[in-house]
């Protein structure tokens, strides 16, 4: 057995060239590692520590007063704005993410077609990604650039109010009032879809066409199943983007709490708020994962079942083998002790 194992996983000494390659690899990822450690893991650990304290930054010193879960109860019991904003955030994310993903897919498919000035149009749709970063978006929103001027949002809300609950109607109304902004958030998703679409093997479409498949059928049977993982990826990207951008009122609330000088707010309070918000974002991501995560098809299931069966049989065979060996040893021991009799073949037992 042990010999077999050795042949299965032979220990090969890494050569100089491979070592060099490995070192180069580490050197390449070192800046990223440093970045993650310094600007992600350390602040994460720090904020996790902070959330149990009331932190007062005086001009002379930083005071840490342990409050345990005090920050959490303060947020949920004394700050009615936080739960309200969480509800609004959930509604908006659930409504906006599908719009962004569908819009990005449509644009990506159009850009993937045979059109003139393809590069220019790709640039046009990616430009907002550069523009929306930083304070430019805030300025544009202030100027009313986020809404479609001809759209009467108030009329839409009034109409929705008549048959939907007020909170839902308001959130859908909000969706219309920031429609342009939402569509502006689609730049990266368009690129991801575009790259996925370009990787689909064209022979699949050719085969489908030969079999008489229409474009509509090709989309549903080839395009969509192939880029399905990208839909999940884009949905997750959209959730993260919507949850963390400057337009998000929860982010501004956390930021304001961080720099607030009132006695119960500050870094500790903001950290607690941020961690609770992070948990909620994770749940939203999980929700999209459950909805869009690829399910195994029947063939996959059968293969798995067969593998399980083979494993089971192998286990059983081993079990029988072990039992046989055990029995042989048992007999051997008994023979040595001579406390058993065997038939000698001549009608007698010895």
């Amino acid at each position: 057995m042990s010999k077999e194992k050795k042949t299965k996983n032979p220990k090969v000494k890494i050569g100089k060239l491979e070592k060099k390659d490995a070192l180069a690899g580490y050197a390449f990822i070192t800046p990223w590692l440093i970045g993650v450690l310094a600007f992600m893991l350390y602040p994460l650990a720090q904020s996790f520590y902070y959330m149990w304290f009331n932190i007062r930054i005086t001009p002379l010193e930083t005071k840490f007063i342990y409050v345990g879960t005090g920050n959490f109860s303060q947020i949920w019991l004394e700050n009615p704005e936080f739960p309200q904003q969480i509800v609004t955030y959930l509604w908006q994310t659930i409504l906006e993410v599908p719009i962004i993903v569908v819009f990005a897919l449509l644009i990506a498919m159009m850009l993937n077609g045979k059109i003139r000035c393809k590069g220019f149009f790709r640039l046009v749709f990616f430009l907002p990604v550069i523009i929306v970063s930083g304070p430019v978006m805030n300025m544009l929103v202030d100027e009313g650039a986020a809404t479609i001027p001809a759209m009467n949002v108030q009329a839409i809300v009034t109409a929705l109010d008549s048959f939907l609950p007020a909170s839902l109607a308001t959130n859908i109304g909000e969706l219309f009032s920031s429609m342009i902004m939402i569509l502006w958030y689609s730049g990266v998703q368009i690129l991801i879809f575009l790259s996925a679409l370009q990787k689909i093997d064209s022979s699949l479409y050719e085969a489908a066409k030969i079999d008489g498949g229409s474009k509509w059928e090709c989309f549903w049977k080839i395009t969509l199943p192939t880029i399905k993982p990208m839909i999940l990826l884009n949905a997750v990207y959209s959730v993260i983007f919507l949850s963390g951008n400057e337009q998000n009122s929860l982010i501004t609330m956390i930021q304001a709490a961080m720099f607030s000088g009132t006695k119960e707010k500050g870094y500790g309070y903001a950290s607690a708020m941020a961690w609770m918000y992070a948990v909620i974002i994770t749940l939203v991501v999980l929700l999209f994962f459950l909805l869009l995560g690829s399910k195994k098809d029947i063939y996959d299931k059968q293969v798995k079942r067969r593998k399980r069966q083979v494993k089971k049989e192998a286990r059983l065979a081993k079990k029988i083998e072990r039992r046989g060996i055990r029995n042989v040893k048992k007999l051997e021991r008994a023979r040595k002790k001579r406390n058993y009799k065997t038939y000698d073949g001549e009608g007698d037992y010895r």
Partner: protein
């Protein structure tokens, strides 16, 4: 040899102890002149909420007085954010003015300046309530800040409207009821095609004014909003004013606010301002509105206005009474390395006679314009907090048509010498009370809309206000804060907190 070592050690100990005295005593460190002011080249930072051009010029004037002290000024955008960030980054200003004292006290931003303040003879010549009510002491026996940027809440009357409606101008020492009556009398529906006349246009709510003017000092020594007397609150006074104001609004005596449908219906302009309509008789405005808007040369003629200031009326017919006003608090930061020089700067920028004379030199020169091309006296000019006669005489002359309306202005100025700050500038815990309770449940909106009566909230709001104040006093001045409260005081505030919890 032993002697030498001993004397050397003694010298070291003495030097160290002297240095310690110098640091802890609050005097200047390093080389000082005969007045105790440093002769070293130093730079002080002053953060404020006033017009930046004015403050820069003031800083230059201060440096003219103390050539070795340079001053860098900065306009504060958001007090909480700017100061928290500065404290985190270790570049906290030496002197700053604050709009919200809860933030400053919760983080011990200000140092105790009692030593300098008490030894300064000029502090005895300030508006009386500053020392009488301890404005800037926050109900302790220490002084952490001094009031600055004073702008009383003022009542103005448009004489043209009074004339157009054939009404009599009220006496300048009028009472509250007389003001309410005038507001009602001056509200008239316009005849066909004519705009309606409204009795009142407001920026400051009447309940804020009423809460201070509500009673005589014998009845209750009100020295803050919501009937605060330095110990506890009594919102019953506020409730009367709140209800009266709400009734005026609900019954159509109050002009619409800007950017409302009512304003568009009234003036045809969504962004209209009641102060330019010539159809409002009485204004409850910020004092700065006069200098920033109506007091600009030619403005009143352009809009057909003739606006004069009036005394905020008292409920009881007393000539001398308190008025509510905006007063920011300015102090020396607890991390300041040159506290005495910082105090001198604070004094120059806020209440000092030299500082005010320097300010008036700046304001009188109308060729100096700020970044918005406005003469500095029309850019939020505050009112002096010193009682110095020379300063006041020069100050009064800055006002538009002062000589023509001398009686009105003199009566008005005489009536605003007993200011009481808005709560967030003088009462510990006030901001939290408003943020977490009063504004959170929208009491103003509910009462204004007629959905609730102010009186319904009196008991609960009074208890809450007392609780927030007591909790804040323990937090700010107790062992986790400045640690200056005695055991008895701590027990007193703790009892309020405990009673509320029960």
């Amino acid at each position: 040899m032993k002697k030498r070592i001993l004397s050397a050690l003694l010298a070291v100990v003495m030097t160290a102890s002297l240095a310690a005295c110098g640091g802890g005593g609050g005097g200047s460190t390093g080389n000082v002149d005969e007045n105790g002011v440093t002769t070293d080249e130093i730079t002080l930072t002053y953060w404020h909420f006033e017009d930046e051009t004015t403050m820069k010029l003031m800083a230059e004037k201060f440096t003219e007085m103390y050539p070795n002290i340079h001053v860098e000024t900065r306009l504060i955008d958001d007090m909480s954010q700017d100061l928290s960030a500065a404290a985190s980054a270790g570049n906290f200003p030496d002197v700053f003015a604050g709009t919200d004292i809860d933030t400053a006290l919760a983080n011990q931003y200000w140092m105790d300046i009692s030593e300098y303040y008490d030894a300064d003879p000029e502090t005895q010549n300030l508006l009386p309530t500053i020392n009488e009510y301890g404005l800037g002491c926050f109900d302790t026996d220490k002084r952490y800040a001094v009031p600055t940027n004073y702008a009383p809440s003022a009542i103005f009357i448009d004489r043209n409207v009074i004339k157009a409606l054939n009404l009599e101008m009220p006496r300048t020492d009028w009472t509250w009821d007389e003001m309410i009556q005038l507001i009602k009398d001056a509200t008239r529906e316009g005849s066909a095609g004519e705009m309606k006349y409204f009795g009142l246009g407001y920026y400051n709510r009447l309940d804020s004014l009423y809460g201070i003017a509500a009673c005589s000092p014998e009845e209750r020594q009100i020295k803050g909003e919501f009937g605060f007397n330095g110990e506890d609150f009594d919102l019953s006074y506020w409730a009367v004013g709140e209800q009266e104001f709400s009734d005026l609004k609900l019954n159509g005596y109050v002009a619409p606010q800007t950017e409302t449908q009512e304003m568009e219906d009234w003036t045809g302009d969504w962004e209209g301002y009641f102060g330019t309509t010539g159809h409002v008789a009485v204004f409850s405005e910020g004092f700065w509105t006069f200098m920033n808007v109506w007091g600009v040369e030619g403005y009143q003629d352009q809009w057909g206005l003739d606006i004069v200031p009036y005394v905020t009326p008292n409920v009881v017919d007393e000539k001398e009474h308190n008025v509510i006003g905006q007063m920011f608090m300015a102090g020396v930061s607890s991390s300041c390395e040159h506290p005495y020089e910082a105090y001198l700067l604070l004094k120059f920028m806020t209440f000092g006679q030299d500082g005010w004379n320097a300010r008036l030199d700046i304001y009188e020169d109308e060729t100096i314009l700020n970044a918005s091309n406005v003469p500095l006296k029309n850019a939020g000019m505050p009112m002096p907090t010193t009682m110095d006669e020379n300063v006041w005489n020069r100050y009064k002359q800055l006002f538009y048509h002062y000589e023509e309306n001398k009686q009105y202005w003199d009566d008005f100025f005489a009536s605003v010498t007993r200011p009481v700050c808005y709560g967030w500038c003088n009462i510990a815990g006030y901001w939290n009370f408003c943020d977490q309770y009063f504004n959170n449940i929208g009491i103003h909106d509910l009462v204004d809309a007629g959905k609730a009566k102010a009186a319904d909230y009196v008991e609960e709001a009074t208890n809450k206000a007392n609780y927030y104040h007591a909790e804040a006093m323990i937090s700010y001045f107790g062992p986790n804060g400045y640690d200056i409260l005695s055991d008895e005081e701590l027990a007193k505030y703790q009892a309020v907190v405990d009673a509320f919890a029960e």
